[in-house]
Amino acid sequence: MERKLKILITDDSKLLRKKLRTELENLGCEVMEAENGKEAVMMDLQEKPDGVFLDIVMPEVGGIEALQVMREVNPEMPVIMLSSAGTPQKLMETLKLGALDFIQKPYTSAQIKKAVEAIRKKVEQNEQ
């Protein structure tokens, strides 16, 4: 039986966190939430999630800065960027920083399912 993935959602929007939590729980994940990049970095250190969904545009500490810190602490952490501004520049920038994938908002359930499968694959690779 597959082990339950622990996923951290980081978005300043309560609505998005609520919707994404439902999607992830339906996929059998355990979900934690952070409202900004600073909180996400703290939770990353304390809770050690298996993967992170990270918004880019957030007040105070944004997603790009949070991604940089998370990658320094744990270079193998699978991070999925989730942003409304899915420009090629943003995609390249985040992939260079080590993000596993980039999903443009509004997302579809199929995109989230695919992202979770990618996180699981990465986690399994890391564990080998």
Binding site: P59, S83, S84, A85, G86, T87, P88, P106
Partner: protein, 285 residues
């Protein structure tokens, strides 16, 4: 091109529908069920002349088959068609006796022939004073309207007269700054009921008041629209970044090179604001 989203906009722009009546007609169009005859006309399967020779209130499919106007396969196809906003609005125009099938055919053709109907509306409202900004503002407004109709699942049109801000019903402003190769600020100024309606429709949540969820819903909608605009600009090799969206109560936006667009929907109206700089928010008089 079939202007399936903007038929009502075309009728407003050409003066066939007046501003005072647009919201009522849009509301009726939400409930309208386009007839098979109208859908056949819109899909180009029959002409207005052919429909004029039939008693379309009776068994249209039977008559169309009997007169070899349509095949059984075409009838089947029509039965599968999901009515577009233009079909629903056209049905209202028919139901109200304002057009017949011959006139409707002309209007569909002339409406479809108008390129960039939203951009044209913006250019007209921008006038000479905002000539430099009109292109980017038009690009944004086109994406905004398309997204609004899609995500809110209701028809909407831009009024062809510039609105005045300061209406006592305008209680909130949601805005977001875009910076980079194109710098501008976009915002939605709205009343409480319209705010709640938009939040409810975008989130699909049971929202009854302007709370955190409602605020998140409308800011997220604007964020998504601006994101789509940024992606569109990237295709033109222009890099645009978004700042976090903001929400304010009982303040009015004042920006440089500011354009105000009144957007009518089936459930009310709001003002879309586009300016080149960050809004300066002033208290309502």
């Amino acid at each position: 091109m079939n202007n399936s989203l903007y038929f009502a906009q075309y009728l407003l722009n050409t003066g066939l529908v007046k501003t005072e009546e647009i919201q009522g007609l849009l509301a009726k169009s939400l409930e309208a069920k386009p007839s098979l005859a109208l859908m056949a006309l819109r899909e180009g399967m029959v002409t207005g002349q052919q429909l004029a020779s039939l008693d379309v209130a009776a068994d249209f499919a039977g008559q169309a088959l009997g007169k070899n106007l349509l095949t059984a396969e075409q009838i089947e196809t029509l039965n599968q068609v999901v009515p577009s906003d233009s079909m629903r609005f056209a049905q209202v125009m028919l139901d109200e006796g304002r057009v017949d099938f011959l006139r409707l055919e002309e209007l569909f053709k002339s409406g479809d022939a108008v390129p960039d109907i939203i951009r044209a509306s913006v250019r007209q409202l921008a006038g000479a004073s905002l000539k430099t900004e009109a292109e980017a503002y038009g690009d944004f407004a086109e994406i905004f309207m398309r997204s609004f109709i899609r995500f809110m699942d209701m028809p909407a049109v831009i009024d062809n007269r510039e609105p005045i801000l300061g209406d006592s019903n305008q209680s909130h402003i949601v805005s977001q700054r875009l910076i980079g190769d194109i710098s501008m600020t976009t915002g939605i100024v709205t009343s409480d009921p319209m705010f709640i309606e938009m939040a409810r429709r975008y989130s699909h949540e049971d929202i009854k008041e302007i709370d955190e969820l409602a605020a998140d819903s409308l800011t997220e909608f604007l964020n998504v629209v601006n994101g789509l605009f940024a992606v569109d600009m990237a295709r033109q090799d222009r890099d645009v970044d978004l700042e976090a969206p903001k929400i304010e109560a009982n303040l009015l936006p004042v920006g440089n090179h500011q354009l105000l667009l009144r957007v009518y929907t089936a459930c009310g109206s709001f003002v879309l604001v586009i300016a080149s700089d960050e809004f300066v928010l002033k208290e309502k008089a």
